[in-house]
């Protein structure tokens, strides 16, 4: 069969070396002719005046950035403000009442204490908690974000920020994969396939973790609400809380650019390649349809994953808290071991242990922290796992963390920073491995954010303690 290839090579030699370009040009010329014959644009305004006007504002040198800030801030504020009441309801129903009923049921049936503990205090409680904490914000956040997406706004963000990415030596489409990362980092990493150059694709893969994924939004929102928002008068609390969340998002963009820049000047050097971005026409979003698809497609999918991860994690949490080694539980030993590093980072041993237990899904970080704090935080008071039944809402979670866990504003701020800067969840790590097929780059993508998180948190803690 190779003689055919030889013949092709021989013919190709006889043609000038731009044969490829000539073939393509001929094809495109035919297409242009056919289009010209078939399309009547006589009645056509080049672009709709509405679109033009919108673009003038949304890509304006001042108003473009104002609009970007207001839109993203608005999305977070609606999420924070809107999720409070339904979250409380779910909490009362699932965690307070549901847990009591279930526990009473198990006791009535004469189930052994170990079984009741593992299934009800471990598996059920962790799962119920995840649903109560996560479902309402997700059910609000995803539709809002999807509306922005469907409207055609996100490519405008890419257009506005392109120069920053170009300066950082990154591909122009990286801003799009970054946007995908705000939904889910695993999806964002997969989306980097739209980047053809391997060098630029690796940069996009490694930095995708700096887009706050939906699993991390609840942690940020909760910390922003119960700690940062509490610093100001109640009337302003919502705005300040949303502002704190936006600040972390902007910091994430900054870290993305800085890390991209550093990588493209060191281990991933090379030319930046051409790309094509298009600004699609604005399309009026169909609200009901968007609600439906984003709740079915995103919210429930993500929630299912969280629940699947939460159930075994709940069992692990219960086991490490209740299986004793010597004079204390396994969890207590681990927390004691992690405490010095935790202190150095302005966090604590429980938070670090939670990040180990919750590696399958960031969604369960807060529930894990609260459960561990309740079981370990106040041994003197002899708190049992059942104590969390007392908790009603965000404020009570806050008071538990402060009184039992000894949290300060520093702990909350550093947890927000660590939420941004830590290893990707196990699903994302697996996706990175699938996409890069390289142990080296998977390790870099996993450990680089963790190292950054350590440095940033330790620096902030050091400065904070110096000042106060």
């Amino acid at each position: 069969m190779t003689d055919l290839l030889d013949e092709a090579a021989r013919l190709r030699r006889d043609l000038s070396d731009d044969v490829g370009d000539r073939i393509v040009e001929s094809l495109y010329t035919d297409a242009a002719r056919l289009a010209a014959e078939s399309v009547d644009r006589d009645g056509a305004a080049a672009r709709l005046t509405v679109d033009r006007a919108l673009d003038r504002v949304l890509t304006h040198r001042v108003w473009g950035f104002v609009a970007m800030g207001v839109l993203f801030f608005g999305v977070f504020w609606f999420t924070i403000a809107g999720a409070a009441v339904p979250s409380d309801l779910l909490y009362t129903l699932l965690v307070e009442n549901g847990h009591t009923w279930l526990r009473d049921g198990f006791t009535a049936l004469g189930a052994p204490a170990v079984v009741t503990g593992l299934l009800v205090d471990g598996v059920y409680l962790a799962t119920a908690w995840v649903v109560a904490v996560m479902l309402p914000p997700m059910a609000i956040f995803f539709p809002l974000f999807t509306l922005l997406e469907d409207f055609g706004y996100l490519p405008r963000v890419a257009f506005n920020l392109d120069r920053l990415f170009a300066r950082a030596g990154a591909h122009g489409k990286q801003s799009l994969t970054m946007m995908m990362g705000y939904g889910c980092n695993a999806a964002g990493v997969t989306a980097t396939r739209i980047i053809d150059s391997r060098r630029e694709r690796l940069i996009a893969v490694i930095t995708n973790n700096f887009s706050i994924c939906n699993g991390r939004w609840p942690t940020l929102i909760l910390m922003g609400t119960i700690f940062v928002g509490a610093v100001v008068p109640p009337a302003l609390a919502g705005f300040v809380a949303a502002g704190a969340v936006v600040a972390v998002v902007i910091l994430g963009i900054g870290v993305t650019l800085a890390v991209s820049w550093a990588l493209s000047r060191t281990v991933l050097q090379g030319e930046s390649s051409v790309y094509s971005l298009e600004l699609p026409p604005y399309r009026p979003p169909r609200v009901l349809r968007t609600l439906y698809t984003s709740i079915i497609d995103r919210t429930l999918k993500v929630l299912r994953r969280a629940v699947v991860m939460a159930a075994p994690a709940g069992a692990v949490i219960w086991l490490v808290s209740n299986v004793d080694l010597g004079d204390a539980s396994v969890a207590a030993h681990l927390v004691t071991a992690l405490e010095p590093i935790g202190w150095l980072m302005g966090l604590n041993g429980i938070i670090l242990l939670a990040y180990v237990v919750a590696v399958p899904a960031n969604e369960i970080i807060i529930p894990t922290i609260v459960m561990l704090t309740l079981t370990l935080g106040a041994p003197a008071a002899g708190a049992a796992p059942g104590v969390m039944l007392e908790l009603g809402d965000d404020a009570q979670i806050g008071s538990v963390l402060v009184t039992t866990g000894g949290w300060t504003l520093l702990t909350a701020v550093n947890l927000m920073l660590f939420t941004l800067l830590h290893h990707p969840c196990s699903t994302t790590v697996l996706t990175i491995w699938h996409e890069t097929r390289s142990l080296r780059w998977t390790l870099v993508a996993t450990l680089l954010p963790l190292a950054l998180g350590f440095v940033v948190c330790a620096s902030v803690a050091g400065l904070w303690r110096l000042v106060s």
């Binding site: 055919l4 092709a8 056919l34 399309v39 739209i194 026409p281």
Partner: protein, 279 residues
Amino acid sequence: MATPLPTPGVGPGAGEACASCALAPDAARLARLGLDPGRYSYVVALAGNPNTGKSTVFNALTGLRQHVGNWAGKTVARAEGGFSYGGVGYRIVDLPGTYSLLSTSADEDVARDVLLFGRPDVTVVVVDATRLERNLPLVLQVRQITGRVVVALNLVDEARRHGITVDVRHLTRELGVPVVATAARRGEGLSDLLAAIEQVATADDPPAPLRLTHHDPELERAVSALAQQVAARFPSLPNTRWVALRLLEGDPGIEAAVRDGTLGDLAAPTTDTAAEAAG
């Protein structure tokens, strides 16, 4: 390498009972490409530029709710689904959105491989009625590979809004395949699209692949000469001119297919064409 199974004397659609056995070699071929060889009679591939509403058409046909984003390059992974029409099962594969099949990106390779080596029974090319010129290069390239094509002229509602009219009859005549106006977001034109898909899937004698002549005589001579050689080597390959063009350009994917004989597999009569010839 899978060996062709013995050919039963019925074609696809001849009877539900044997639809899957008649398709077994196709199934093996599709499985090699990572497609699910489930129970269905026809395979439909969905091609199109980014941002033409391709995923909306996919969702409308399958009833799935794959999220549709309003930007380029969103369908990164290949989505698959199924639907049934006229009592016959169709498997539908949503290809990545690409501007061409010229192998300048991984997405284009995926799309090209499915169209060339997967040989779908119907390829639906979704085009944006408001930007026809940008979309036609892909249509022409698909038409150079196969005649089993339906063009879904999508977003006609948006075109109307912008005061753009498209001469569907002229397009149909020039492309030699059905062109159906749709507005998938509103469900407009979907029944026409399904009917066109059925018509192309069941056609015994699909149009030949499109032969584009090159205005450049030197290039035209080289293409014709090489196409003759390709035809001599693979007598039943339908798209010899296109393969010749790709070889002239030194397309690594096609060169590999020549070298390892995959192109020869395509040239061998498949089960369904053999069955059709027998019947």
